[in-house]
Structure formats: C-alpha cells, structure tokens
C-alpha cells in the first residue's frame, strides 16, 4: 500500500461519512469452500467513532467525482474539493486486508455519479465481483444503487451483495425537485420497486429450488435527510411507514441535516444539526417496528410533529390517559409494550413470569422496568401509587420535564427523596 492509497482513503471515507446506515445484520451467508468471511444474521459493530456512531462496515465511495449538483451534498459538482477515484482492485484489496484484521464486518460501497449511472454501477459491480469471485469473500456487502441505473445492472448487483439501498434523501417530490434538479422521484422509486420485486420473486424461487442463488438476502434500506426541507414529522413518518409496508424495507435511516454547503440559499442556515429531532424520529420508528404502533397513533393532524422534550411513547400515553392504567398481571403483551418505562425485554420477562404467580412492583424493578416512569401507567398486585388519571397528564408532563432538568449525577443519589417530592402535591 502506498501513500496514494492513504490519501484516497482519507478523501473517499470523508465523502461517504454522511450516509448513516452501518447495519451489517439480516444476512446469512456461510463461509464456503474455505474462503474468507461469513455474514452473521446479527450485525457486529467493530468500533465507535467520537460522534458515537458505530463502525461496522468499511463505508467508502468508489469516487467522489459527481455529475450531479444536489444542494445538500458535499460531493456536488459545483464544490471545489479534492476529487479522486479508487480502482476496483485497490478497493477490493483494502476491504480484504481490513477484514482479515477484524477491523470491519464488510463493505458499504457507495459512489458519486461518474459519466452516467450505468457506468458507475458497472464499476461498483466490478469491485464486488472481485471480492466474491477472486478473493472468495463471503462477508457482508451493502451496495448503494445509483439513481437511474438500469434494471439489468441492479439484478446483477443484487446477486452479489447482501443489502442494497436507494437513498430517497428528500421526503417529498417537490423539495427534491428544488434541491436535486438532476434527480427525480421516479429515478429513486423505480429501482427500489425493482429490488423489492426481485427479493419477493427470489423468495418464491428459493422455496421451489433450494439452490437458487440469493438475491439481496439482507433486504433493502433507505435514508431520509431531516431538517433540510420544511416537511413535518408526520410526512416523514408516514413515508417511512409506507416504505416498510409496501416496499418491505428493512430499515429507514434518518439523518439530521448537517449544513455542508452554507452558501446555497435554498437550504436553511442551522446553528447545529437537529440531533434531538433525529433521535425522536428513530424512537418513533422503533415504535412502528417493534411496539405495534400505527403511524397515526404517533403523529396525526392534531400533533403533526413529535414532542422534542418527551419520547414518543410517553407522548402517546399522556395524550391517551383513558387507556391506562394497565394491569401487569392480565394485559396482553401488546398493551404492556405501550407502558412508558417498559421495553421489549422486560415485557417478555413479565409475560413469561406471571404464569407462576402474581407480580409486584419489586419483581418489575428487578426485571429492569423503569418504575419511576411506569408506575403512573400500571397496576400490579399491590401497587397503589397514583395513576396518570389521578395526577393529570399535564401535571405529570411538567413533573417529568423538571426531573429531566436536574443534573444527571444527582438524579441517582436522591431517588428516595424524589419519590417523596413527586407525591407531595397529593397531600
């Protein structure tokens, strides 16, 4: 490896870093013929950078040369930045060397648009083909599909990689037109649909013939940029919900907009990226995928945006006090999941254990339930603390927010006292 490689790596990793996807899960590719690598069904993170994001895959661009001029993108044509391109051989070698040292779980390959979408896709496919055929590499590969690439190339790529993604980036067509004049919604949605169709057909074929090669076995994902355009959370989450249902996406990623092109007046001037909003969107996304929530229950006409101060489950509970308290010893699993302070893990423990006898508050605490939160929303064998209805949702809200303002260390220490002051108003 020469210094040239080091410089290219620096430029092209830096150019790829705004893509938030890093997941390496969902595939199941065994090591065959004593080659190198396998893809575990669960993802593995290998490190964490100073921003707290996981490093799982070698997230890299083949080139940061791009013929498009998207307003929100660091690599846009009109930016005067150092440009470079990896050769397919260089990039395949680098992936293997990193992989052998257990630095990474695989490759996440993306690219600027070089010459035209099909040419770029062809180059990317060459990297992946070298890995699979020449290096006999069975590890994880995530490839970004270039908007506008032909269906034939997408099929070719899909047979080599584990996951594909087409980034929507901008949540509505109008905003996309404004910010990315070279792209169109159809150039994004058509590949997505064709990947989805490919996956569904492949599943059927594999049911008939076990030897059918896998097509995108880890499914597809996409990314939405949040805060660069005026869409509200309802528009964003409704789009995500539709994508999960109709396109069977494995993940929708939300990326808080980081102003990389401050000079472009079509974009808002933000002092800092909207990280809290991004976090709330992920929490809402979790509610849709693992907690059986409907998008309308999280955001709707009356509440088009998520509450930045409270997590969306707590928000839901405070807006719907009539559904509570929930009887821990009787309620369905789905209802127990709707209690603030109870996660999937503790909900499962509760449902498994209550067959042996009735559960009380002490049991719940030991199982990991955050009683400080949940006690307003449940009844147990003996618990008779005031519920959300007695306390009143508005009061409970301000109480919780006050408690959050306290410095972190103090909160743990005076837990007992806190219980006392919380209930003070009842006296």
């Amino acid at each position: 490896m020469n210094t040239n490689t080091l410089d290219k790596l620096k430029i092209l990793a830096n150019a790829a870093k705004y893509d938030v996807s890093c997941s390496s899960s969902g595939s199941n590719r065994p090591n065959t013929n004593k080659g190198i690598g396998d893809a575990a069904p669960w993802g593995i993170c290998h490190s964490f950078t100073e921003d707290g994001r996981c490093v799982s895959l070698l997230k890299i661009m083949l080139t940061n040369v791009c013929m498009y001029d998207c307003a929100y993108c660091i690599n846009r044509r009109s930016n005067d930045i150092p440009r470079t391109t990896f050769t397919a051989i260089e990039l395949a070698d680098l992936t293997i060397e990193f992989y052998r040292r257990n630095y990474i779980e695989g490759l996440f390959l993306s690219s600027g648009v070089l010459q035209n979408p099909d040419y770029t896709m062809g180059q990317m496919i060459e990297v992946v083909r070298l890995l699979r055929k020449q290096h006999r590499y069975n590890g994880y590969i995530h490839m970004k599909s270039i908007p506008g690439a032909s269906p034939e190339l997408i099929t070719q790529a899909g047979l080599l990689v584990d996951r594909m993604s087409v980034n929507i980036e901008i949540p509505t067509e109008n905003s996309l037109k404004l910010l990315a004049p070279d792209k169109s919604y159809s150039s994004i949605m058509l590949p997505m649909q064709s990947i989805n169709r490919g996956i569904l057909e492949n599943k059927e074929d594999r049911n008939k013939y076990k030897t059918t090669p896998r097509f995108v076995p880890a499914g597809q994902s996409t990314q939405l940029i949040v805060g660069a355009t005026p869409e509200n959370d309802r528009q964003i989450l409704s789009l995500a919900s539709t994508l999960y249902q109709s396109q069977h996406l494995k993940r929708v990623y939300y990326s808080g907009y980081i102003p990389v092109n401050n000079y472009d007046k079509r974009l808002p001037a933000l002092a800092s990226p909207p990280l809290v909003r991004e976090n709330r969107l992920y929490q809402a996304d979790w509610l849709m995928r693992f907690y059986f929530f409907n998008v309308d229950e999280i955001v709707n006409d009356a509440h088009p945006d998520l509450d930045l101060e409270l997590d969306p489950k707590l928000g839901f509970a405070l807006r719907n006090p009539h559904l509570y308290p929930i009887d821990i010893n009787k309620a369905d699993y789905e209802m127990i999941l709707r209690v603030p302070g109870i996660g999937v893990k503790s909900a499962r423990l509760i449902v498994a254990s209550r067959r042996y006898g009735r559960l009380n508050a002490e049991h719940l605490t030991k199982m990991g339930v955050v009683m400080k939160r949940s006690r307003y929303f449940i009844t147990t064998n003996e618990l008779s603390s005031p519920t959300v209805n007695e306390v009143q949702p508005e009061y409970l809200r301000s109480m919780i927010l006050n408690e959050k303002k306290k410095p972190r260390k103090k909160r743990g220490q005076d837990g007992q006292l806190e219980l006392f002051t919380d209930l003070h108003f009842l006296a």
């Binding site: 690598g37 396998d38 593995i44 964490f48 100073e50 921003d51 052998r100 040292r101 980081i258 042996y356």
Partner: protein
Amino acid sequence: MNLFIYDGSFEGLLSLIFEAYDRKVFPDKIIRKQQYTKAIFDEPLEIVTNNAQGERVWRGLQKKLSHESLSMVYRVFLSELPEADMLILKYVKLVFDSKQRIETNFANETVLQMTQIWQKVSREAHRVPMFLRFALTADGIYYASYEPKYDVLSLIIDHFKSRFADQKWIIFDIKRRYGYHFDGLEIQRITFEDDCIDKKTGLPDAEILATDEKAYTALWKTYFKAINIEERKNLRLQKQLMPKRFWKLLPEMN
C-alpha cells in the same frame, strides 16, 4: 461453616454438587482452589474431581432443563464471579427440588440472578468479535491479544474458525495467559512464553510483525478519523458503547 474447595474446573463444580447430595451436606461457601488461602479456623472439604459423578449431575439437569438453560449454567460458571458457584448450586437445588419447570420464573430471585449473570457473560462473549484485532506476523499468523472480563474465549472461537477459515490465527487471553491457535485445520488450546507480547498494547514485538503491518494500522487509523462527523461529537455515547477498558488493545484508539 461448611467450606468446600474444588479445582476450579466445571467438572469439579459438578463433582462438588454430587458430593453435597451424596453426603447430604451443603456448603455455605465454595472457593476455587486457586483463590484459596487458608484461614485459621477453616476446615475445608476438598473435592476430588470425578468426571463420572459430574456427568451424572449433568444428565440429571439435562432431564429438567432446556438446552438454553444448560448453557446458562455453564456461562454463569465462566463469569468467575465470587458468588457464581454458590448461585449455581442454589439453582441446581431449585431445579431438582421443584416438581414443575422453573426456568422462566424470573420472579424467583435465583432464576433472575442466574439470568442476569448469564446475560453479562453473553454480552462479554459477543464483544470479542467486535473489539478483537489481529496483527499479521512475519510468519503469516494473524495474532490477537484479548483481555475479557469473564473467561469467555472458549464460547466464541468457533466464530473465528468459520469466518477466517483460510487464515492461521492465534487468539490469546493476556490476563489468563492461555489462548487458541488455529492452524488452518483445527483449533488447539495453547499457552506460551508471552514475554514477546507488550502487555500495554497487546502487540507482539516489532521484529515479529510483518513488514507491511504498520502501514495497514495507519490506513485503519486514517479511516477511523475520516469517518467521524465533527459536528455530531458525542464522547459520552462513544464511551458508553465502547467502554474504556477495551481501548488499550484497539489500534484506532491509540
């Protein structure tokens, strides 16, 4: 007080349990021989490991526990926590004494404690494939030092065997001073004179490493820096997801 001492092996602990049932005397305290220093009034019962007896206990458990719970018992043993052996004994007694299955009764203190230690050990085992780093030596072996909190290497070596099927490797626990060597065909448990390993970085001496090795470390460090987004700096989150105790063996953190 009944004090039982055994050789620190899993078979030894099972023999101890057999012995306790056989004598109808149960210990108030169990100590692994390596950790034992005799106190003045101690009258310890020293257990002799007997594989046949251990096997009988294990078969008894197999009849009453799922595969998962059996693996839990072994993993709690690997935690090496001071309370682990007594807890296992308590759990085994609970299993043998109960008419119905108790494995999912998490309201029971013993079951819950077992589950919690099991989760800790499993998490530690899961972290090996995350934070372990190989360095290539001049004779073509990928070497990695590791220092897990619990004795988990045996749980995870199969992962490396199937993933790195075409490379020779050594994974060495620098705290417990043993490791595993894969020669391309089989895995063997090994110990060796580890003077050539720098205890601070976990790296073999420079002359043992392959000539390019430094260049690859530099590439990795460059990548690690370039992929970070400065505007999103969150050191607390980084530390939470990658606890500091792992940092010293990670090239990107040094």
